[in-house]
């Protein structure tokens, strides 16, 4: 039922990714979310900025902005391209407790959203490196919370 939808979305996707690539000054277009880099492209990617998320390593392919804020295109160790909105999710922690722990990070964020009824706080950073650093530190400081750096490798599609 949905081939037109896919075509439409793919066009948008290409435009979107193209814009990101342009804003980052890259000579070539970043592959779409979910695609896999070739071995040679992966070698090139590994020369770029490295992000550590727990045991995982990611490399920054480009940075840019969408209408909602900063975005970073990344590639993981398997060579799969993903996207981060530079968000840090702090879940399973009452908001008032979270506020006490995140004060020192606020200067580097572009937004902080408190979802009180879900006990979730979302920090959005200007730079993904700052987000990753915050995740590492907050995991130690808030052992009972679930703290993540969401990276999207697959976009929800109509079924």
């Amino acid at each position: 039922m949905l081939p037109f939808k896919y075509i439409y979305l793919r066009s948008l996707c290409a435009l979107f990714i193209g814009l990101i690539a342009m804003t980052s000054g890259l000579a070539q277009t970043i592959p779409p979310i979910g695609s896999t880099l070739t071995a040679s492209d992966m070698e090139t990617a590994k020369t770029k900025t490295q992000i550590q998320d727990g045991k995982s390593v990611l490399w920054v392919l480009s940075t840019g902005r969408s209408s909602s804020g900063p975005l970073t295109m990344l590639v993981n160790e398997q060579g799969v391209v993903g996207r981060s909105a530079n968000e840090v999710i702090i879940a399973n922690s009452p908001i008032e407790q979270t506020k006490l722990r995140i004060a020192s990070y606020l200067s580097k964020t572009v937004s902080v959203d408190y979802v009180d009824n879900m006990k979730i706080t979302v920090l959005r950073f200007s730079a993904i490196a700052d987000a990753a650093k915050a995740v590492a530190e907050l995991r130690t400081a808030m052992p009972d919370a679930r703290i993540t750096l969401p990276v999207v490798y697959s976009i929800p599609r109509p079924r």
Partner: protein
Amino acid sequence: MRHIAYLALVIFTATLISACSGGGDSTSTTTSTSSCTETGPYACQTGATEPLYTYQWALNAPQSFFATYTEVSDGTTDLKVEAVHKQGIKGQGVNVLVLDDGVDINHEDLKANVDHTMTWNFQTNTSDPTPTGIGDAHGTNAAGIIAAAQNGIGVMGIAPRVTLGAAGDMDGEGITALQKILAFGGAPWSINAHVINYSLGINPKEPPEYSNNSYEQGSQPQANLRGGKGVIIVQSAGNEYVSINGQPNRVCPKVDNRLQIVSCENPANDTDLLFPLRLSIAALNPKGYRADYSSAGSVNWVTGLSGQSSASGKYGEEGSAEENQGPAIFSTDLIGCEKGYARNPDVPGTPGALANRNLTEFSTGGTSINLAKNSNCNYSHMNGTSASAPTVTGVVALMLSANPNLTWRDVRHILATTSRQVDPNYGDAYQRNEQITLADYRFTGNTSTTLSEGASTARLDYGWQTNAAGYKYSNWYGFGLVNAAAAVAAAKATTSYKPAALTLPEFTIFKGADGKEEDIPVHYGKVTKLKEFTVSGTDRVDALQVGLSSVGSAGDNNIQSICIGSVGIYVRSPSGTVSVLSVPYNSYWNTHKKLYEKSSYALSSYAFYGERASGTWEIFAVSGTPATASEACTTSPIGTVSLGYRIIALP
């Protein structure tokens, strides 16, 4: 036994109600003759008041237009919903939120039910969720299946008196984690949702990351929404049984060179569906069989109705279900013939539209049928598990309307215990009941159900099984096709409620004597019993989940981390029920190199629902031969994996 007695009582009650109200047979009347509490011009009337109702086979198959087209319809497969409508139960008091590409809230058949405090559009950051794209009719179709009003025009939703909310652009390229959190109960416009319909999903190209730290697990507060009773999230299982659109380099399993013996995609690869509040919905066609595309796996909860992958003729009546043809689900569409699924064939930007969109004459602007029945193109039809999920959402809304005190656990338990077995012999068809050789994936002719350590053969599908708690479950259909009459009867009969609070235990990781994650060998081409573990206590099982990772290092070919595409994971419960959580030669077979140390992958099964958790569980790797194109998997007949498990218990 207690569960079986309860089930029998529910079915008996439902049968009585159905009989008293005259529902479910070809002699049924439009209006109930007794105990009607609904008021208004359509009080206790079925959808027969709506001009397009005859095409809504899912609501009344025996009297539908399609009943006589025996190649595409059996004339009996429907939701058993008329008996409920005749009681005047139509979703009153229930808030349904449709998270999709948007909903045309000005539609003549929806606008009366729309609550503008429950709408949002992530693309425009306004409260108008009406989509702007020519083909963005997906959410509008889903909304109509649930909530189209009973007003003497168009179609009727399964719960035509619900309060409807909607969010647009949930499938947008830039959707963020925050936006998803807001949509699923974290925003003022979503916090009052009682049921959420999410006819979207993902098909990750690589095995998705899932661990104790996954932020999906931060969704536990959803169990506290709806005044502490929990929101119910109904999601499509996926349309990837046959193939995976848009990702041609993922291949589907072939047995003896034959496709479609097992599902190409595993719904569990959408990690949202590992979360117990999410109900994964499979799809049935009007002939009473799985729609050809409906993804199968052990996270499917129940089955709704949709249609086949191709609709043609005037309304979808042409062709044969055997050829994947037949009617879809009729519903609301974007207003006008310039956009939506029903539109003029010459709309700019839609090259090949007639061929690609499975259009019937009804949905093709300007045809004689269109001009006679759908001249403004305000109605169309949709298939896919995108359509089957809203049919279940509608039934859930009816249940909550009948008894708003039900917790999310009550709702899913009632669905599991009142849904009915369909296609009972599918597990025996097309040699599906045969053991296959693991080394080269060929049928053996042996239909033994034995699963044993070291064997070189195993089954891929156990079909319908009755577990030790008395529940029938299958990977194709979950607990079966929803039955609105039985579900609502059970809802009304419920006076004792299950707790809504949800605590997800951490995965228990198997560790060696050195305290580190154990390096467990997996033999390719054979069955390997990875581990067994013993549970004590009185818990009963809701879900059993298995977590996999590797102790090897990425790029270290001396440590042979398993190729997850070659390895199926099976679990046998203490009661002897075997569940196939993933199959060997699955859709990651030709693309995935190996399971990296730094990634964690999880699977889940509801096949053990209600069984006692106590006793010894066994986890098996049922392994094929890695693809020759794979790296790092082929130099050794043995791979390794780190393993964990958790049992999510019933309260």
